[in-house]
Symmetry: C2
Subunit: 375 residues, 2 copies
Amino acid sequence: MNAFSFRLCATDGQARTGEIVTPHGIVRTPAFMPVGTQATVKGMQPEALRALGADIVLGNTYHLMLRPGAERIARLGGLHAFMRWPHAILTDSGGFQVMSLSPLRSIDANGVMFRSHLDGSTHVLTPERAVEIQSLLGADIAMQLDECVKLPASAAELARAMRLSLAWAERCKRAFEAAAEGRALFAIVQGGDDAGLRVESARALVAMDFQGYAIGGLAVGEPQEVMLRMIETVTPILPADRPRYLMGVGTPEDIVEAVARGIDMFDCVMPTRNGRHGLAFTRFGPVNLKNARHADDPRPLDPESPCAAAREYSRAYLHHLVKANEMLGAILLTTINLAYYQELMAGARAAIAAGRFADFRAALREGWARGDRAA
Amino acid sequence: MNAFSFRLCATDGQARTGEIVTPHGIVRTPAFMPVGTQATVKGMQPEALRALGADIVLGNTYHLMLRPGAERIARLGGLHAFMRWPHAILTDSGGFQVMSLSPLRSIDANGVMFRSHLDGSTHVLTPERAVEIQSLLGADIAMQLDECVKLPASAAELARAMRLSLAWAERCKRAFEAAAEGRALFAIVQGGDDAGLRVESARALVAMDFQGYAIGGLAVGEPQEVMLRMIETVTPILPADRPRYLMGVGTPEDIVEAVARGIDMFDCVMPTRNGRHGLAFTRFGPVNLKNARHADDPRPLDPESPCAAAREYSRAYLHHLVKANEMLGAILLTTINLAYYQELMAGARAAIAAGRFADFRAALREGWARGDRAA
């Protein structure tokens, strides 16, 4: 098993391509991490997910600590064995979902106390416990506990949460190092849409020397230009030799714009969740298969897609499956969307390596602007 | 494309093994047909279904005529192309599900009028229309329209429905022959649990000369011994050179007992529906994965199963997926169950061919009686 490391292979403007080595294999960056909330990427068998080109998946600490439980997963050999995903896994710290899913929670300097959305039981997540859980799961990349504030928020509220997150970063780092075994801990830059706070957060975290840096608290409802401005504010402060992870992002366009600004890693439920709701991502933009215009359409979604499901099933059939609420509709559209996202990342990596990322980005935009109806 | 034919390869007591040739390939008998109600076997990609050993699937005329519509499927190239299943398909006539699913229906000599359970629209299914729909779908094997009566029922009611079904069989046959193109139409023996009516039905249908004969109206709540007695009553009347199909059956034990009595074909939602509800069929009987005793069990369902999912995932993980209501749980258990059913049929075929069906049946019973807890 290899210890965590990161190697930058090429840059093109601010865009970067590289390789993260983890105890469970290499992650080619820029990388998109499918979200495996409850120890499964919904509807995907692990072999099929791997075949789409995924090097790494994300697991949600909040969900896994509540069910089936971190200690149980550890007894069963860790999350990789449990879900039969022998490749890299990143886990979040649980903090974000405590805020969004728990019906009752209280936060103080020590950590966050909350009730489970499943059975109402009470749990406490401290920085130390968040790290312990992620070690029990065996995550190749663990995330610090942070407090993510919804936007818009006051400067005072943003500053308080950012400074609390800094203190927790330090405690996470201390707790993590004893048990790391080649695994990595990433810090999370906070500060909302306030550039000054973002700079303060990034500088303080860089001074603590983490193995990677995430930008959190974005894609929470703010305009895209605010998100991109915050990325531009933070990335120059981050060390070039550490991976940069933009949490919870996003649309294909968001991802490409963030790659252009030096981001290396992404995760988002969009390809999986939207797929379950009948939306396909394609080279010509999103296609809503619920729409009646597909009912008699014998054409595939994209005859030139590298994804067999996008080439071989008719739109009429996909429409039927979605309308009839058939599991196969969710399975095929999840597959098609994850394939599109992985294809996007592979294209970005190749374009950066070849020094033609600007052309790649322009061609993508042209396809999306053209729209699927024109096809 | 080959025209429909049936060839008996070997017999062992009453048990038979053979091959049905259809325009879409050979069906090895005894055969189990997974149920693809809405143009999909729930949760299964067609390639995966084929890989489990399925030669034929069943489509439901009632569902398909309502959504997406038989004429639409015909315009899109037929059911095989629509659902990307290039192998054999049998469709039922729709009659059974009109009775069980439609909120309002009225039956007379002409046919059955009913309201759609989807949108309340009114539809009429006559013997001629049932045959027309199945021809539009392109079914390799079509079924006559019949009236299936729930048991218990009075002798008068059973006789009335059986004689109506005979009249409809004749109309279906007349309507079918013009457009057959190598496809086959099967008749359905009715008569409930009344041996006299069953004999009358079987004799009359044999006199009409169908390409295959089904036994309908069983496995509708009667004891297994009644079902087996009706099979024993009917099969001696049926010609040995035509396939025999026991509709809607059943448990692994029901199937093996029916094979022992000369049945060649089966369909049932049990492996798929029960799989979606957390039940696995195994060599040691059914295993309910909802049960908390599996939560910490690292063992697979069956380390010697030919099905990878049954060998490779832990019971603890399957339990977790079922409890968390994850799609992957339904996918894996559907796969495991259909694999078990196909393995059962393959075992029966080999045992009959080798003249050791009695041993095969005894060994199965021994495993089921042993139970999974003893494993």
